[in-house]
Amino acid sequence: MKGLEFWKHVSIGRYVEADTPVHRLTPAAKYLWLLALMLSASMSGSALVICISAILPLFFARLARVRILFLLRGFLPVLPFMGLAAVFQVLFSWPADRSTVLLDLGPVSLSAREAVAVVLMALRFVAIMSTIGLFTSVTSEGDTARGVEDIFAPLARVGFPARGFALMIAVAFRFIPIIAGEFESVVKAQAARGADFGAGARGPLRKARAYLPLIVPVTIRALERAEALAEAMEARCYGAGPATRYVDTTGGSADMVVRVAAILYALGIFIVPVLLAS
């Protein structure tokens, strides 16, 4: 029965409560930096930009007093993969590679260009991983939903349903533990009736079929709960007029500086390499 407690061992994004300058930022500012860093890590081709976007989140993590090892612990399972990719970089040389050869072992050789490619790939991953890890550890669930509304506030003027979108994310957050519990109880109920979800000796087709009486009731229960919630909200006149907010996330002038800095950074990483090259 150990495999049935699905939720216990899952750790994606744990909010770590603390009172630091990073935690005190408004959700909108955190989102802007998240997007800026993700953009620079995944889209930029410049080695310098990738290095910067790998170091910046670690610097912010220090400010937020989040342990850097905690952010990087996901890197271990990936190492074999990175090693494999590195081996392939070494085995197959790039066409028209004229960079200096660092290591020569007869038929295979490691050129500077190949080494840079491997290191950049690892750095890119570190950058994205630590950025997302940091965001989830400094932003509470409520702020994650509120931030979405703030970020899309400019689009809301042209009719984008920012409020509805934020509500949807808040509902999803609220439902996740409920659904996980629901899955657990249905799995246990089915297992009690002899269903096989573990490593039984039966054929894969039978195992796959066992998922149908699991997914269907859980989804139906989720839909029923959602209907009940929607009816309760309508009965309280949600959506009948402008809604107010309990938590204020406007932020002060310092916060505005941080937001502008994020936008400047995102623009800078694409403009500066072009300027340097020309």
């Binding site: 699905f6 750790s11 399972p77 509500l167 997914i215 269907v216 989804t219 989720a222 309508e234």
Partner: protein
């Protein structure tokens, strides 16, 4: 009852939660022959599109995509997970699932409902497979060839063979799941329409 926007939002949220739970637990994968596994995490996205329209489908697709992005970046398990730590691979293709599934459902809506839902499931699943593999091929061809042990030139063939072998079975599974869930839900809704009071106790 007419569909209010609150209802649509809340149902999308609930299905987003189902998709998120599937994405971070082993429940999102069906065991299949030869140790391979089929993903079924995109099914809530298709169901949202069928029940509540393309906007809800896209919104749930976004939740699904972001969850798989966060999971790939914070708790990677498989060899391909690091590649999903790229929003172009994990988020962008997932936005299209809802739209395609909704389109397929609309085309067949006049006919039998379970059939239309099944077709929507298959189309949504194929959209997911094709676009994710396309995005992987475009953004990470070097790393992919490392992971599969083929040279970059042979990568399109390797991706196409995945699309055929896993993708078609996944599409069939998605068709079965979507049509069962939508059928059961519509059945419940009709039964409640006939006897409104009887369903209120639970």
């Amino acid at each position: 009852m007419e569909r209010s926007s609150v209802r649509r939002i809340v149902i999308s949220g609930a299905l987003g939660a189902v998709s998120a739970v599937m994405a971070v637990t082993p429940l999102g994968y069906l065991p299949w022959f030869g140790g391979a596994s089929l993903t079924i995490m995109h099914i809530p996205v298709i169901i949202a599109a069928v029940l509540e329209g393309p906007v809800a489908g896209t919104a749930v697709g976004l939740v699904f995509g972001v969850t798989s992005l966060v999971k790939a970046a914070t708790a990677p398990i498989g060899p391909l997970d690091p590649l999903f730590a790229n929003p172009l691979v994990s988020v962008l293709p997932r936005l299209a699932i809802g739209f395609m599934a909704w389109g397929a459902f609309r085309l067949f809506r006049g006919k039998m409902l379970p059939l239309a839902a099944g077709v929507a499931g298959a189309v949504g699943s194929i959209t997911n497979t094709v676009l994710v593999l396309l995005a992987l091929g475009l953004t990470a061809s070097e790393q992919m060839s490392g992971a599969f042990g083929v040279q970059t030139g042979a990568l399109p063939a390797a991706l196409a063979s995945i699309a055929l072998s896993n993708g078609l079975v996944e599409a069939a599974a998605a068709a079965v799941f979507t049509s069962s869930i939508v059928g059961a839900w519509k059945g419940l809704e009709n039964a409640r329409g006939r006897a409104k009071l009887s369903g209120e106790g639970n």
